[in-house]
């Protein structure tokens, strides 16, 4: 906790969980997709669905997808702005199963890129958590530089990635490994103390057995 979580943040109301948290989920999804969003499918569940309209959760989420920050006074106008920018979106309700009450599933599309499916929750006080990426369970909150590597589940990839980061003097704070099945596709989620330089990300993309590299930078 930080003193500016107690007095602060500066945000557009009315709710830290249902408005500011929704903007953050939109923003993080946009960064993780890394391409221009042409189409977005937004599926709300639980309390997001029940009280979302009154809290502006729908507008907040779209605002985040458009790159607005939590204190942007254009958040209430996000639907119109999306239209101007040619970002298509649909909003509906969905049963996402046994998840946190404030959870949303977002599918982002661009004709020239692989679609990205994200499930994320707003867990209170504006803090969020990403729960699923492309149907693989993950768990990170996006308040540290985060590297997400999809790779073939074979020995050595974790060592290769971490030694590369060590060589660049990037310290790791947490690391999680996930896979669907042995020898199938795996995901590593690495939260770092420092930002990862661009050339390292480029290098990672071209390594054998690495399928996809996604990086969440805290820098704009």
């Amino acid at each position: 906790m930080n003193i500016f979580d107690i007095v602060g943040p500066v945000m557009v109301g009315p709710s830290s969980s249902h408005t500011a948290g929704a903007v953050k989920i939109g923003l993080i999804s946009r960064k993780l997709f890394g391409n221009k969003i042409q189409k977005a499918k937004i599926e709300f569940s639980g309390s997001f669905l029940a009280t979302g309209k009154g809290h502006g959760t729908d507008k907040a989420l779209v605002a985040g997808l458009l790159g607005m920050a939590v204190d942007d006074e254009d958040i209430p106008k996000s639907f119109e702005i999306a239209k101007e920018k040619g970002v298509e979106f649909t909003i509906q309700g969905a049963d996402l199963g046994d998840v946190h009450p404030n959870t949303v599933r977002i599918t982002l599309e661009n004709d020239n890129a692989k679609p990205l499916e994200i499930v994320a929750s707003s867990i209170g006080g504006g803090r969020i958590q990403v729960n699923e990426l492309d149907k693989i369970m993950v768990n990170f909150c996006g308040d540290a530089p985060t590297l997400i590597v999809h790779n073939v589940d074979k020995p050595g990839h974790v060592a290769e990635v971490t030694s590369l980061l060590a060589h660049e003097k990037v310290n790791l704070s947490t690391m999680q490994l996930y896979r669907k099945e042995r020898g199938g596709n795996a995901v590593m989620v690495i939260e770092c103390d420092e930002e990862i330089p661009d050339h390292v990300l480029q290098f990672l993309c071209h390594m054998n057995g690495i399928l996809k590299v996604t990086y969440l930078s805290l820098e704009e």
């Binding site: 930080n2 003193i3 945000m11 557009v12 109301g13 009315p14 309209k53 209430p76 209170g124 006080g125």
Partner: protein
């Protein structure tokens, strides 16, 4: 991070520094930032509060239509000299309503400590500055005092309605503002702590029962209560009245009450006012 007001008071005495300095020093160390940068950031928080106060739109209604324009009603009555509370407290009431309405209408505010309780601190801070002419620097120090109290409450209890009911939101905001007021009036840590305790004691047990689950009814008006309660608590402490229960124990009582509170009055939009026939009817009318 401070776990108790007692700890802050002992550092205040030991190092012979002011209450706010204990908070800023600890926070700078914790987050590895310079004192100048931290102070500037806090000064900006206060600046944003003042901007938000000035940007109130007296024609705006929330998305649900449940709140809006009440700030103007109080303003007009105050201008006509009709308020029993007088002009000074009248301005506190007016600012608290306006800020809480701005929040409900998706305008920019400072969560202090939460968005739902964002009207309490600015109502008290901006009005006292207007009245007494304190500098922005003094006000920024007072913001640190408030933040320090909030930090202790967060560590001993909670600041979210979903965790501990409205006492955790409006109660904490009121407690923070009461302590800050005593600081501005020249009070030491002991007086600050007792003001914070007296404010919290008066709202212990307050339910979080928002109609339709929205931060509107009764949240907007409870900001008024929190702000005025901070003024009276500060006056009591300034006069030398102390809380018979030590301040840190008052926060512990808030935690215990919050834990024992049934879920339907902890921001679920089920019990209390939300569960009245009218509350239920409103909810049905505004579903997504």
């Amino acid at each position: 991070m401070f776990e108790s007001l007692e700890e802050i008071i002992s550092i205040e005495k030991e190092k012979n520094i002011s209450f706010w300095e204990c908070i800023i020093e600890d926070d700078c160390k914790e987050n590895d930032i310079s004192r100048e940068k931290a102070f500037e950031k806090m000064a900006n928080m206060y600046k944003v509060m003042k901007q938000a106060d000035a940007n109130y739109d007296d024609k705006l209604y929330s998305q649900s239509g449940l709140v809006g324009t009440d700030g103007k009603k109080i303003h007009d009555a105050r201008e006509r000299g009709e308020l029993l509370c007088g002009d000074f407290i009248g301005r506190v009431i007016e600012r608290a309503i306006k800020m809480a309405e701005s929040n409900a209408c998706m305008k920019r505010i400072v969560a202090a400590p939460t968005a739902g309780s964002c009207g309490v601190m600015p109502a008290v801070f901006i009005t006292i500055q207007e009245e007494k002419g304190y500098s922005d620097e003094e006000m920024t120090k007072a913001m640190y005092v408030a933040a320090g109290i909030g930090e202790v409450i967060a560590n001993r209890a909670f600041l979210a309605g979903a965790a501990g009911g409205c006492q955790a939101e409006i109660g904490s905001a009121s407690s923070m503002a009461a302590g800050a007021l005593c600081f501005l009036r020249g009070g030491d840590g002991t007086m600050i702590a007792h003001a914070a305790a007296l404010a919290m004691k008066s709202v212990l047990g307050l339910a979080c029962d928002p109609v339709a689950g929205l931060v509107e009814v009764p949240c907007v008006k409870r900001n008024v209560m929190g702000a005025v309660n901070a003024m009276t608590a500060s006056d009591m402490a300034f006069s030398g009245i102390q809380s018979k229960i030590p301040p840190d124990e008052v926060f512990d009582a808030m935690r215990t009450i919050g834990r024992n509170m049934p879920d339907d009055i902890k921001e679920t939009g089920k019990g209390g006012l939300a569960g009245t026939p009218t509350g239920i009817k409103i909810k049905e009318q505004i579903a997504l």
